[in-house]
Point group: C2
Chain length 337, copies 2
């Protein structure tokens, strides 16, 4: 496995090739990941999600720049960005995004930015994203920012599979945005109000604080930011993290050092509380289940004769058979063939 | 099956109970749908999607009102609304939404509004949505509006499984919304610019026209609004529908009769061109495949011993085994047990 050795030794071209293999779900990609997986587990994974119009991409750009040029005597770290865009199956949006970003960070060998567009199914995209993150981790990137474009449940599901999840808001995004926030707040470790120079920033912050208080009457109940994970792991352990709210203006860098400090605090907190172990387990379990789901369907499809499938579909369209009966016939038919 | 008879005869309470059974995926629900399915295929399904802040809910409300109080001598039709909100797994957002809507349309026995929040997996939600739509169809609702909250790929996937898909935009929703539009435009049969009294509406319309022209250099190439379906069905048949752009102001009703007319035009067009048959087949195929996926995973999970699963997860977290090897061991282990 020369390719694997090259990736482990920091060869960018080998890494870029591997990422393409992973995106295309080739057997070479799978074999390489199989070997690389034992080298993972060192990177800090940061998920970034939020509605369109909040300026996520600019913020991620600024954060990458911050980690490359840290304040004081801190050492720069190696940064990877994975920008996941499930809503662009047909367009070159992701590629265009790459080019715009590259201007800021171009030429720095310790920054790697990869945009991922949909490859058919959402499950496939989530699998590919997990694989790309593993490759960056094995290749020695210290920090991996996983940004999702769009504000749907699938995007949130991808972003939450990180150690630290940032939820980005912005003032004045419309009236029904409140409904979105309610669900998304549950996954936030850090809330960011970007475009904080816009009118209405005070209202946005008050609304966010109000919703936090509404959802969790005591701010120190230890039920913040990790409801899902606590449901999975031991509640007694209690991560006791209260999601802070940070204002930023990504275009001029305001608030970015403070945000960087909060991310470091959260990481430290996860290590001190033992929360990191629980999150790792939850994260890997979710990855495994998604991969299982895709593999089961792929294997099953190979077993079903196409003519049998089309015939059932004809009967379904003619309303001669219900979808549930069709599923039963297909699964039993597949098992017998 | 007294419940089924009651639903077919228009009993609202029986229908409400059935919808809950479908949402909870009970065996009663499945049995009822199995019988009801042969009574489906009469309703016109209208998907409504778009980014947060575009005023989708108000627009859907207005449309429902329009169909209950049509202009001129047209007969009112029976309308159902299915509001799908995958981003609110924990909150009462959907229920609150119901109450707000009900004020306008309350007491009308020929309007039925149902909000659906996430029940765990997205696949499960899509299945439940398909089932609820079938129940409304069998119960004799002429028109079913399927509204998705959020702007992710999953929401788009649900909305596009309709006969006519409306994509809602609004002026001034931020700078990175353009990227979202590009992917979403491909599924639009009708583009709506809501909140058309806001500044910047001319720019929004120009941008949309520009993107339509960019994506499809000839406006009469017949490749509009149905790229996905054409890839599935016969391209030669050529639906030749150019997605119109309609400005609306949902809060005062401006543009709603015109939008209603465009929806009727699209329906007529689908019937004249034979496109309706192709869309029905595509729609049912997608529903079937989603149902298959969920069923395969559920059946498989029942076969795997929990201890075996947890042990593999431990080895995964310890990086002793890669996710791909774990999947292989789980599937082979499941087949043997």
């Amino acid at each position: 496995m020369d390719a694997v050795k090259a990736v482990l030794s920091g060869n960018r071209l080998a890494l870029a090739r591997l990422l393409t293999q992973i995106e295309n779900d080739t057997s070479e990609g799978r074999t390489a990941l199989d070997v690389l997986f034992s080298h993972t587990g060192n990177a800090h994974l940061i998920g970034v999600t939020g509605a369109p119009g909040t300026g996520k991409s600019s913020l991620v750009n600024r954060l990458a720049h911050f980690y490359r040029h840290p304040p004081g005597k801190a050492e720069p770290v190696r940064v990877a960005v994975v920008a996941v865009d499930p809503s662009s199956p047909f367009t070159g949006g992701a590629v265009l995004g790459d080019r715009i970003r590259m201007r800021d960070l171009a030429g720095d060998p310790d920054v790697f930015i990869r945009s991922m567009a949909s490859r058919g199914s959402l499950g496939g995209l989530a699998n590919a994203t997990a694989g790309v993150v593993q490759a960056f981790d094995a290749a020695g990137f210290d920090l991996i920012l996983i940004e999702t474009v769009g504000a749907g449940q699938a995007e949130v599901d991808i972003a939450k599979l990180a150690h630290t999840t940032l939820v980005i808001e912005a003032p004045g995004l419309g009236d029904d945005i409140q409904a979105i926030k309610a669900g998304i707040l549950e996954i936030a470790d850090i809330l960011v109000i970007n475009k904080a120079d816009r009118p209405g920033v005070g209202n946005t912050e008050s609304a966010l604080r109000g919703m936090l208080n509404l959802a969790h009457p005591s701010r120190y109940s230890g039920r913040f930011g990790n409801s899902i994970l606590q449901a999975e792991g031991s509640e007694a352990e209690g991560e006791m993290w209260v999601p802070p709210i940070q204002r930023t203006i990504a275009i001029d860098g305001t608030g970015i050092p403070e945000l960087g400090a909060l991310i470091a605090d959260h990481r430290q907190h996860l290590e001190d509380s033992g929360g990191i172990t629980r999150r790792e387990r939850f994260r890997l379990k979710s990855e495994l289940e998604n991969m299982l789901r895709e593999t089961l369907v792929t294997r099953w499809r190979k077993e079903i004769p196409e003519s049998f499938y089309q015939e059932l579909l004809d009967r379904l369209v003619a309303r001669e058979i219900s979808p549930w009966r069709a599923v039963e016939e297909l699964i039993d038919g597949g098992a017998q063939s």
